[in-house]
């Protein structure tokens, strides 16, 4: 393993030390748990938006804490869900009297730890609702859609729900936005290089020069199939069709397109992928009304990307366009 780290057991704490020092204008660390919150939390009268998960996904999750997005993030070990007290302390710290919405990805550890935290928060009288993201098409067939993983579609939920909460939306309204985003969003990912979890020291899988992993998530885990390497256009067409087969769109529909790099794929390649997605959508008369290309949710140094489409309506479009000011996403 070749990485610029010190003791592998300390990577998360050392990363946080640096991140907090850089972003003290936006965020602070709680004394009670490894939980990062908006510097001005709790905001009276605003629903608190809380997420969390394992580390290794920069800029997710903590990069999106700030005005118009997240209020708090419970920080876990690399690719490991945070413990319940970190989520519970997050809920306490950001409850501005309107309750707290937990947004999480569909992973066994996250689901269990957030459930335990929700029980703890409700026992203290904090109203808590939760929405579990399931945007990853590859991870389960459509008839078991609730079993799917949540991947970078979560970013779109943070953006839209954060905007709703910032504009005074109630807990029920924020929850409804999160559910709508999840129902309207599909992602499909591929990878050509694995990543190495620092404390493990060896890559999560090995691929031959002419192979790729198809249908990957963002923990460096193998995909649903190993297939022959393809050109950017061929693989982009294949995965965009997976999404369109799963979530049929009509000519005239508007979508947000999100091309997410998984950590080691250069922007150069991501824009080539975007170009192809745009061509496919144009040919079908589907309007790419909003587009985002870059790294939003990575898997350490994994090389790969995902394509996400979110079907837009007037509400989602305006929430997506609302201002946000966070360390990793700014829109004015």
């Amino acid at each position: 393993m070749k990485k610029f780290i010190n003791d592998p057991y300390d990577v998360v704490d050392e990363m946080l030390e640096g991140f907090l020092a850089v972003n003290s204008k936006y965020v602070r660390l709680l004394d009670t748990a490894r939980t990062v919150v908006r510097v001005d939390a709790p905001i009276s009268g605003k629903v608190g938006v809380v997420t969390g998960g394992g580390s290794g996904h920069k800029p997710a999750f903590i990069g999106f804490i700030g005005k118009g997005m997240l209020d708090a993030v419970a920080v876990g070990e690399i690719f490991t869900s945070p413990p319940p007290n970190a989520v519970f302390e997050a809920a306490k710290a950001v409850n501005g009297g309107q309750g707290v919405l937990f947004l999480l990805g569909n992973y066994a550890g996250d689901v269990m730890n957030f459930q335990l935290a929700a029980e703890m928060a409700r026992a203290e009288g904090i109203p808590v609702e939760q929405v579990i993201a399931t945007d990853d098409v590859a991870s389960a067939p459509k008839d078991r859609i609730a079993n799917r993983r949540g991947v970078v579609g979560e970013f779109l939920a943070w953006k839209c729900v954060g905007a709703k909460a910032e504009s005074g939306g109630t807990l029920a309204e924020c929850k409804a936005v999160a559910e709508k985003v999840n129902n309207h969003t599909r992602t499909f990912g591929v990878a050509i290089e694995p990543c190495t979890v620092p404390a493990k020291g060896v890559p999560t899988f090995t691929l031959a020069e002419d192979e790729m992993e198809y249908g990957v998530g963002h923990h460096g885990e193998a995909g649903v199939a190993r297939i022959k390497m393809m050109s950017a256009d061929a693989v982009t067409e294949k995965i965009t069709n997976e999404i369109l087969n799963d979530m049929p769109l009509q000519a005239g529909d508007e979508v947000a397109v999100l091309i997410n790099g998984l950590g080691a794929t250069p922007q150069l390649e991501l824009y080539i992928v975007y170009r192809k997605v745009k061509q496919i959508l144009d040919a079908k008369g589907i309007v790419a009304a909003r587009s985002l290309v870059g790294e939003f949710f990575t898997a350490l140094e994994m090389a790969g990307f995902s394509v996400t489409l979110m079907k837009l309506d007037a509400e989602l479009k305006s929430l997506l366009d609302a201002p946000a000011d966070t360390p990793a996403f700014k829109q004015f």
Binding site: P8, Y9, G54, G76, E77, I78, F79, T80, S81, P82, P83, P84, N85, A86, Y107, A108, G109, M112, N113, Q115, L116, S139, A140, N147, R149, V197, A199, K200, V202, T204, G217, H219, G220, E221, A222, V224
Partner: protein
Amino acid sequence: MDTIGSAQMIKIIGYMCDSIEEQKDYLSELDGAIGDGDHGVNMAKCFRQIKAKLPASEGKDVGAILKDTGMVVLNSVGGAMGALYGTMFLRLAQEAAGKMEITLTDLVRMFKAAEKGIRELGKAEVGDKTLLDTVAPAVAALEKAEQEGKSLQDALSDFEQAAKKGMESTRDLMAKVGRASRLGERTIGHQDAGATSCYFILRAFSEGIKQ
């Protein structure tokens, strides 16, 4: 010996900590085959904290010792394992609250409560290739041994044997829940890492009473 006293429970947990430390590379290796390969690391990190805090539990009742352990497990490293093992220890603790020593009958009641907690939180069934495949047969064996009037030591020996068989059974199963379940048939042929760490935790009861 027909009871486990509070000093013995400290030894059992100490033995557990040492086992996890010894097995950490093996656990990560198993996890690496169908998971992200960090199970051993996270378990070791958690049980190092338990070992460091164990002296502070000395002299407390069995329930309090298990509760101290459970709180560390629940709130140290997170993950599904933190939630499940945390729940396991806290349920064991609830059933042993206030007792300076526990009998085989107590232990059966404690482990039945722990199994129930794991089932409720994890929503897995036996055969889904999870730590429940280790826990459920072990608890059943413990209860059977108690009903047959076996000694504490013999009952725990049955418990350990059943746990081991349960752990080994996961090799031929396809994962139905948890992260590995995404790999479907690719999980067959690999022993489950969680079922394996669970075996080392349960084995500490049969081995730790001999210490």
